[in-house]
């Protein structure tokens, strides 16, 4: 199996999820696809080395998350949080759409790393050590990002924050 075939297999297994995670972070489907594609371009370029990793899929996800966080930082300098929330997501049920729009808008008010930590925790069900790995920080730092994200999300959504999931 050649390099492109091996990367293609990994792409087939992971691309969809990488795009959806990136979307929740950057809050724009077009940019999410760009982020995911940039990550896979890097994977293709460095496959000779990354293929030796225990989990090449984790490598491309890490690259994608970092690119997404960087994209958010750029965006935050240019636009207001409200403008960033963008159009409602593509969901059929009006009640569900309202819920997801609120959640998206609240996520959009968070700084990049807090936003990524929340997305990885809530959407991908990642434990703290994996969130830390994807964000390239210590577990305690990831815990701080997630803790602050939950406090802020609770304020924005008018929900009580129960327990400390970061511990």
């Amino acid at each position: 199996m050649g390099r492109e075939d091996e990367v293609r297999d990994l792409f087939d297994d992971n691309y969809d999820q990488v795009v959806r995670t990136a979307f929740l972070i950057v809050q724009d489907w077009g940019r999410a696809e760009e982020v995911a594609q940039d990550a896979f371009v890097q994977l293709l370029r460095y496959w000779g080395r990354v293929s030796g990793h225990e989990m090449p899929a984790a490598w491309v996800r890490r690259v994608a998350v970092r690119l997404a966080v960087r994209s958010v930082r750029r965006e935050q300098r240019l636009t207001t949080a409200l403008a960033r929330s963008g159009p409602p997501p593509n969901v059929a049920d009006p009640a569900e759409a309202a819920t997801s729009a609120d959640v998206l808008a609240a996520l959009g008010r968070l700084p990049g790393k807090q936003r990524a930590a929340a997305v990885l925790f809530y959407f991908e069900d990642r434990p703290l050590n994996e969130i830390a790995d994807l964000l390239d920080c210590s577990t305690s730092s990831a815990g701080v990002h997630l803790h602050r994200a939950r406090i802020r999300l609770g304020e924005l959504l008018g929900e009580e924050v129960v327990g400390d999931v970061a511990r």
Partner: protein, 305 residues
């Protein structure tokens, strides 16, 4: 519904139903990979050609350094042996000593791409900010390179503590170590940055100063795998290749590492024709302007030999 339940349901509803065209995406990825490969090859060939024009014989090491992916070790061998990185080879990180801070003193580099003498001094930037130490690298490679635009370069990188990292974006406004010194930089910095390997220009603008304006460029490392130092696992590219004196311990590194992203300013100065400063992006303009207000003293202290 609790916050956690609401967030789980909301994120799944928001991201879970959008159709994604994976076939088109795969085609785009293949095209991008091909374009990147072509671009890197062209730039590296151009860099090798420029070295020949400058009368400098550079080997594979320096070409790797231009790509931001290898050890910058000038070697005495024909330029036709210059290797063009095809993007598939494993990246060899620089020597572990490469990250050493330059100690105060005078050093002569004789086995670099050009002979050069640097004088370094230790001083304190601004005690009111906590007195972070920094060192200035001085020297005069211009005559030897017969450059018609002597240049002074400074890099303001940052020191990030675990506590600062944990606090979110605090590190973005921290000012840490400073390296400065004359290094060859083209007069058209914008065009030069656009052509730099493993770096991309994402934004540009102008900073208002008391006596004029300074153009700036936001750059970021476009290769997440690039590393400058063995012991720092962050995307990093050397903005400038650097001379490397193997016989001078603790003086391994003269160059400008860009970790992730940086802002580069081109500044006209009364005591030096041009000054380029790279700082971490997102530092407030007023903080940069304040820092630049002190650069006259820094620049005037440089004596070209």
């Amino acid at each position: 519904m609790s916050l956690d339940e609401r967030m789980r349901a909301g994120t799944r509803a928001a991201a879970g139903t959008q159709p994604i065209d994976t076939a088109a995406a795969w085609e785009e990825i293949q095209m991008q990979a091909q374009r990147e490969h072509t671009r890197r090859t062209v730039v590296l060939v151009a860099a090798a050609a420029a070295a020949v024009v400058a009368g400098v014989v550079w080997g594979p090491g320096i070409v790797d350094s231009l790509s931001g992916s290898g050890e910058a070790t000038p070697v005495d061998q024909p330029t036709d042996e210059v290797r063009v990185d095809d993007g598939t080879d494993d990246v060899q990180p620089p020597n572990a000593e490469a990250g050493s801070v330059i100690e105060p003193g005078t050093y002569t580099y004789t086995d670099g791409p050009f002979p050069v003498t640097f004088t370094t001094t230790g001083t304190t930037y601004d005690p009111s900010r906590g007195g972070d130490p920094y060192r200035i690298v001085l020297g005069d490679p211009h005559g030897m390179l017969q450059m018609d635009f002597p240049v002074t370069v400074a890099d303001l990188s940052q020191t990030v503590t675990p506590e600062a990292a944990a606090a979110g974006d605090v590190q973005e406004s921290a000012l840490g170590e400073l390296f400065a010194g004359p290094i060859e930089v083209p007069a058209d910095i914008g065009a030069w940055l656009e052509g730099a390997v493993s770096l991309r220009v994402v934004e540009e603008g102008r900073l208002g100063l008391a006596d004029g304006e300074a153009p700036w460029w936001d750059i970021e490392v476009s290769d997440p795998s690039a590393r400058c130092f063995l012991d720092v696992d962050e995307p990093c590219v050397f903005l400038w290749p650097y001379p490397d004196d193997r016989n001078a311990p603790q003086t391994r590194q003269i160059g400008t590492p860009v970790f992730g992203s940086a802002r580069v300013y081109a500044i006209e100065s009364a005591s030096a024709p041009l000054m380029v400063v790279a700082v971490n992006r997102d530092v407030p303009d007023e903080e940069v302007s304040g820092w630049l207000a002190t650069t006259d003293e820094i620049v005037s202290s440089i004596t070209l030999e």
